[in-house]
């Protein structure tokens, strides 16, 4: 009897769609998310191949080309010291995307293990970690990032650390909540019943099942981190001159807005499209990975 029914069950399992394939199929149906993904890919390609694409050296000054409006020679014009705006916008994608990815990587790297620990261990560990998270969330995001960047010193790497640390509590809270829900599920009970050690249950059984909400949050957090990096660089706490970054380009553009408005348009559009595309992708991922969101 058992032998006879077994092939049927296996066959049913084989036709069941992989959850990631199902999520991708759902994501593909969302036009906004696909446009977001396409723009993200475009920015990633621009950042990766910046040295091959840029028409001019982004930090080379030219006193004969100071504040020139857009032309065939300089498609997006030049800045106050004659640097090509297009080349700087393309190179700026490197600073912004790396800030987005590295700072969210830091937030995930610290936040997910701490959230797993708080949710899985419970008790005083959870109480202490939750209070620390509450304290960090009590300080508005950018103000904490500015304060951290100010004390660490102005540089792109310190800005990434400041943004990453500031974004960490969200991931701790999210992971903790998801872990609390997952640890009472049957599959975790089963893993516990067969004698798996706690670390193995947390890493092999709980973590893979809480990845979807983390992925959605990470995508939205990258958008927030790109804006935060641009804000810190705009204030002079991120990427230092002459290295190009969209935020620092806007800082110098502000002083020449009457004489050279093109200096302000393009870096701003670049931030806007990068942030918009990650937001669209995040919204689409949420709809695709979480069936409760429609």
């Amino acid at each position: 009897m058992t032998a006879a029914t077994l092939p049927t069950i296996v066959a049913a399992d084989a036709t069941e769609e992989n959850p990631w394939a199902r999520a991708w199929r759902r994501l593909k149906r969302r036009k906004g998310a696909m446009v977001g993904l396409a723009v993200v890919v475009l920015f990633v390609l621009l950042a990766l191949f910046a040295p091959l694409i840029v028409p001019y050296d982004p930090i080379a000054t030219s006193w004969s080309a100071v504040r020139k409006p857009p032309s065939w020679a300089h498609w997006l014009g030049t800045d106050e010291v004659g640097r090509d705006v297009l080349s700087r916008v393309i190179w700026g994608a490197r600073a912004s995307l790396s800030a987005g990815l590295v700072s969210v990587g830091i937030a995930l790297g610290i936040g997910v293990p701490l959230g797993l620990l708080a949710g899985y261990a419970g008790g005083w560990v959870d109480a202490v970690l939750s209070r620390i998270v509450d304290a960090m969330l009590a300080v508005p995001f950018l103000i904490l990032a500015i304060a951290l960047a100010a004390f660490l010193g102005p540089s792109l790497s310190n800005a990434m650390i400041a943004i990453g640390v500031t974004a960490t509590p969200i991931f701790v809270r999210l992971t903790r909540g998801q872990t609390l829900a997952a640890k009472v599920e049957d599959y975790v009970e089963a893993a516990r019943a067969v004698g798996n050690p706690h670390w193995r249950i947390a890493l092999r059984h709980v973590l893979p099942n809480i990845v979807p909400p983390l992925l959605v949050q990470a995508s939205l957090a990258i958008a927030g981190a790109i804006i935060a990096e641009a804000a810190l660089s705009f204030l002079g706490l991120g990427q230092q001159p002459p290295s190009p970054s969209w935020g620092s380009m806007l800082n110098s553009a502000q002083r020449f807005i009457a004489q050279a408005p093109w200096m302000a348009f393009w870096p701003g559009f670049a931030i806007f499209f990068a942030v918009l595309s990650f937001n669209l992708l995040g919204d689409g991922l949420r709809d695709a990975l979480d069936p409760r969101h429609k």
């Binding site: 300080v139 508005p140 304060a147 641009a230 804000a231 870096p267």
Partner: protein, 313 residues
Amino acid sequence: MLAFLTQRLLQIIPTLILVSMLIFGLQQLLPGDPALIMAGEERDPKVLEEIRQQYRLNEPIPVQYFYWMKGVLSGNLGESMRLKSSVASLVAEKLPVTLQLAGMAIIVALGIGIPAGIISAVKKDTAWDYGANIFALWGISTPNFWLGILMIFLFSVTLGWLPASGYVRLGEDWRASLATTVMPAFVLGNAIAAVLMRHTRSAMMQAMGADYVRTARAKGLYERRVVLKHALRNALTPVITLGALEFGTLLSGAVLTEQIFTIPGFGKLIVDAVFNRDYAVVQGVVLVTATTYIVLNLLADVAYMLVNPRLRG
């Protein structure tokens, strides 16, 4: 209600203590000798020793924290190294400017966000709904410092309608005060309007499907009355309380907006302090901001309890 209030008040005490530790701990991130960094250009050993004495830098860190906290609890947030003035008096001087800006930004946010959310929910899946959603995405994705620069270009440089920077107190000349703050208030309110629009849309869609709305329609009331009197009144409760939580966005935004429009408020105070390495001011401003934010969250919770009869019991 009293039990809830007591519980919430007791909850914020450890949070406030941890916030103070976090802010005090920032000082430990300074590379090298903090006295040397705090002194800036000054290298006189006498001055350095004075700084060490003033901040008790020779004492162990827990002792330094104890004295710092003792000062904070008695209203002493430290002294600005650059302005030679107490941080508390600087905060008291700059805060009203930011509050005026924040108040105007909230009016902008409510004035745009709530009508856009209502229209979007009532006219779901129409061009109005798509338009409102595009506005929300635009608001969330636009860096306010860029929007500020674009508005200066349009309204100050090109049209010459509004001053590009500066600030006039409301009491001095209200017209000039409004002229200097209307652009920054719009810049600041824009992102919050987008968030409010999304909250309003989702709350209104939920309310429009509720039984009391169906009953109101069945009574033969005009649709306008059903939407504005029955659905909106119920939908606004969570929107207003969620909106109160946007105070953090408002303060973060004020830092950049005040910088762009050269408004001498709370945000500019922290940025100037950062660049002048006036660390006591940075710590003081962050502490006041965090405390205000925590208290506002508490008030939002209480307001939600008060207006929602189901939670009161």
